[in-house]
Symmetry: C2
Subunit: 208 residues, 2 copies
């Protein structure tokens, strides 16, 4: 079990309707050790890729994306969500259905912040049906830029987003992939991954 899977087992709360709450360390309170390890793990898994920009979506993706941007030493852009925004000349707009809020959200990025030819690494906290990821990919393509990879903290493997993105040929890396979870027994199983996450040792010392 890697560091993130351990944290999910210890602090995650499963709610009815296939909902996993990780407010303790990711979505409300942010455990610096956990997201620092995630950033290093994404650096390892996307090693050798040219990355000119990190793209995420507000709000929970911002903390992880910031540390990934710090490691890759490139700017971070967070897409904005709006239920009501109109299309204008100065921004790219896509759409994603929000299961949390049960509504269609517009996803917006101002045009100056993704340029044609850029190499974009998409980073987010969760992947379920891939709605947000596909909206971000759509925006990168509207800008004439390339998606070099997609780094996800927690993939809900029972939903279809991960399978679709891999079939579409994207380099998707999820640090924890949930195979199944049961809110009645509060049990989770994870998909075995080929690449094992790096160990915690000596990471902290090298950052600050």
């Amino acid at each position: 079990m890697n560091f993130l899977e351990e944290r999910i087992i210890r602090y995650g709360v499963i709610k009815e309707g296939n909902i996993l709450k990780v407010d303790n360390f990711l979505n409300h309170q942010i455990d610096i050790d956990v997201i620092r390890q995630m950033a290093y793990e994404f650096q390892r898994r996307f090693k050798g890729k040219t990355v000119t920009k990190i793209l995420t979506i507000e709000a929970s993706g911002i903390a992880i994306a910031t540390l990934v941007g710090l490691l890759f030493n490139v700017p971070v852009v967070f897409a904005k969500k709006s239920a009501t925004a109109n299309c204008t000349d100065d921004r790219y707009v896509s759409e994603a259905y929000s299961f949390t809020h049960k509504r269609m959200n517009k996803v917006l990025v101002s045009k100056p912040y993704i340029n044609a030819g850029e190499k974009v690494l998409i980073v987010d906290d969760f992947l379920a049906d891939g709605e947000a990821a596909h909206a971000l990919i759509d925006i990168v393509h509207q800008a004439g830029a390339d998606v070099v990879g997609i780094g996800i903290a927690i993939e809900k493997g029972q939903q279809q987003g991960g399978r679709k993105l891999r079939e579409e040929g994207y380099h998707l890396e999820s640090i924890a992939i949930i195979e199944s979870m049961d809110w009645k027994t509060q049990t989770i199983t994870f998909r075995k991954q080929e690449k094992e996450a790096i160990e915690n040792a000596n990471i902290k010392a090298s950052w600050v």
Copy 2:
């Protein structure tokens, strides 16, 4: 002029109605160099304080707060905003008027994430009338915790939030304080501060 004031002069856009847009490096695209310098500057200005938690509010505060949390090596909590949330037993609720959205927002923090006796450093990107800052202070006090300081990137010195917070005795540090700005001429003047921001030199090398 310090690093943030320079960035505001170069990339900030002043809009009618006393609005300053810093989407280029803070509120939409995040310039890693800028927020890294901010984090070091907050560390310097709050040196010697005991800090057990960083508290900010979604979404733009999260990136800065994450790096401050990394430097202080303490967890970060981001308060959530909601137009509709109800009070429940498991969360602290306060209110703040949003000038951007022209409405009253609820500000929410789940109770487990701020404990009695904690030493909380509040961090945010903007301070204008102090609505968000006062809501966060209210929540810290509801939790029986202490506010050890308030670190702001950009204070709008023409509005009353900064004056009020200083009169109330809070240790408020704003890296850039706007004295006046004019959208017609796109000119900004900053308040002279006693403490000069640290220089950029050798900061990058020590982080990654």
